[in-house]
């Protein structure tokens, strides 16, 4: 630990020196922040960086896309200052590392896409139990009576369903399996939820790598079904995939739109605890979309020095205010945080030192 701290500090010093030498005009050396983690948050960070560094010339922010698990692990080890994650920290990790914070930065959602020749312009209605049945191999045909019952009047093909799941660890798998667990007790008892779960053996089921892999696998396989983060909804639409209406906790079928995801977020606001570790999946509300989530920054309250701590706070506060502008968020189909959540986040940010 000592050695790594030393290495990190010397590395940071060298970087700072390089930056100082490079920017000979500026008065003092820049503070370097490194962000790593969620590939879903990465495009948003890339939109943020130029504007943030323009407004705060004293702070250098580097972003990398590695995966939520890496974001969490490296932030805990102190290798990076900001870990990005689609999932909040688990109880186990918080117990082991009480100084770690989960701070929401924005709201994301997930679409259930399907490739049904001739029906891709129809928003097929699906529910948690139906999806759990498909992904556990109990529902194998598109004209299964459960799917028929949810879609009266739709001519569903008598064809085998190809369920596609993520092979890599993913926040999308986390919220998708959380939806199945919350809506279907049988799924909660057997598979449960996580960034990578032990998928039940389904003949013909496919694993795909990354959201882009999900889009191409769904496009290449007629009669398939896939869960894809909304930041990839443009690609999914371009590939001609259909979007399903999902049954929410109140029994209504909804599409992922700003209005329905907003309802889900608003219904969670009052229940959000001070540490903000809460699932937004299967939230109540007449038109609430059931698969939405907070996108988190995973931060260690104890930063190596005061300058770094100030820089981290500056960035997080910027992200919650200027950064939550729709001009950034709409490009990745995210939604801004409700005001009450921003207040909670700012209280958490104040703990960083």
């Amino acid at each position: 630990m000592k050695l790594s701290t030393k290495l990190r500090n010397s590395g940071a010093a060298a970087l700072a020196l390089a930056v100082a030498l490079g920017a000979a005009g500026t008065a003092h050396a820049a503070t370097t922040l490194v962000e790593t983690g969620s590939s879903l948050l990465y495009p948003l960070f890339n939109l943020w960086v130029p504007d943030f560094t323009a407004a705060n010339p004293g702070i250098q922010l580097t972003t990398t896309s590695t995966g939520s698990g890496a974001g969490i692990a490296q932030s805990i080890k102190g290798l990076v200052q900001i870990g990005a994650s689609d999932a909040y920290l688990s109880d186990g990790i918080v117990k082991k590392n009480p100084g770690m914070l989960s701070i929401p930065l924005a709201i994301s959602a997930q679409a259930i896409n399907f490739n049904l020749p001739g029906l891709n312009d129809k928003n097929i209605k699906l529910s948690g139990p139906i999806l759990a049945g498909i992904y556990s191999g109990k529902i194998t045909m598109w004209n299964d009576k459960a799917i028929k019952a949810a879609n009266p009047g739709v001519k569903l093909p008598a064809h085998v369903i190809i369920p596609i799941h993520r092979v890599d660890g993913s926040g999308d798998t986390f919220i998708f399996t959380q939806y199945l667990s919350d809506s279907t007790p049988a799924w909660a008892h057997t598979v449960d939820y996580g960034t990578a779960v032990s998928w039940p053996a389904v003949t013909g089921g496919i694993g795909a790598n990354g959201n882009s892999g999900m889009v191409s696998a769904a496009a290449a396989n007629p009669y398939s079904i896939a869960y894809i983060g909304v930041s990839f909804s443009d690609q999914a639409a371009k590939a001609g995939l259909g979007v399903a209406k999902l049954k929410n906790a109140d029994g209504n079928y909804e599409l992922p739109t700003a209005a329905t995801v907003g309802t889900a977020a608003n219904s969670i606001v009052t229940q959000t605890p001070p540490d903000e570790r809460i699932s937004m999946v299967f939230a109540h509300g007449a038109n609430a979309y059931p698969i939405a989530n907070y996108e988190y920054a995973i931060i260690n309250t104890a930063q190596p020095n005061a300058e770094t701590a100030t820089a981290v706070k500056t960035f997080l506060n910027w992200a919650l205010t200027s950064g939550n502008d729709m001009k950034y968020l709409s490009q990745v189909h995210f939604l801004p945080l409700p005001a009450a959540i921003v207040t909670l986040s700012k209280t958490q940010i104040a703990k960083i030192h």
């Binding site: 590695t66 995966g67 939520s68 698990g69 890496a70 969490i72 692990a73 999932a87 688990s90 109880d91 186990g92 990790i93 117990k95 082991k96 085998v160 190809i162 799941h165 092979v167 890599d168 660890g169 993913s170 449960d192 939820y193 996580g194 960034t195 990578a196 779960v197 032990s198 998928w199 039940p200 053996a201 389904v202 003949t203 013909g204 089921g205 496919i206 694993g207 795909a208 790598n209 892999g213 191409s216 696998a217 290449a220 396989n221 007629p222 009669y223």
Partner: protein, 317 residues
Amino acid sequence: MKIRPFRLSLLGLSLFVPAALCAVVLFLIIYSGQAIVFNGLGFLSRITWNLGNLYSDPVTINGIQIPLGANYGILVFIIGTLASSLIAILIAVPLSVGAAIFLAEAVPELERSRPRWMPPIRPALSMLVELVAVVPSVVFGLWGVAVLVPFIGKYLAPSGNGYGLLAASIVLALMITPIIATTLLDSLMQIGKENRESAFALGATHFEVVSKVMLPMVRTTLIGGIVLALGRALGETMAVLMVSGGAINILPTSIFSPVSTIASFIVSQLDSAESDPTNMAVRSLAEIALVLFVITLAVNATAKLLTSGALSVRNRK
């Protein structure tokens, strides 16, 4: 005793590679120690891989902390690795033997009727073959996703799904064909003129010269090339991850079934494993890496036995 600085420095350099290898193996063994104890031998024969619930409190079994419900079994990945590599070899060997014989034997015939203005054919062709060997594997993976997978899905697979064992094997075969072909070509070119000519003088046809005289002479090189290729196929990660269909908890039933290989599975699981507070998931991944290492070692040892002639029928007298 006289100190010889040159020899000493050479000794140091030559020890560096084996030392690095030992360090890696030692690290893997020590790091995965707890997982080896917890998983037992069933690790190799169980079909179920489950990281367990990383979001609830860990449980303690036999004094070892693991996530609730965690169960690590890697039979699916061992079979996926061996099957995809072996099928790749089956595809690649005839291809590369054919290519090498063509370049060594048929091209000189063509060369004779080559007009003056044309550049020599063989160097150009063999350079093309070698060029395939340096294409980054992710490029093969992309080609697999864009061309091969839709093709298999549309024309070959009864389920209409192109991701799986066959796609992975074909992508691997393309990657390893130049390895076998170039090693074989080099040794075919080194066969003495007198061997070929005496065979021709005895009245052998061109086919007989190649199949009965030349190929037996390069048998050892061929096996060596295959082993080199197998080493690459067993460890290939990215391209396989992109086209194999990433099977988990299910054994392949046909050549079109989705599979996972050890190397690609380690890559795909590492991120989630890192958020395991008990660290058992990462330790189990290290144990899988150890298994892959043992498999590669076994392949190499078999090749050494084959090439040394210990298993050769002819030498048994």
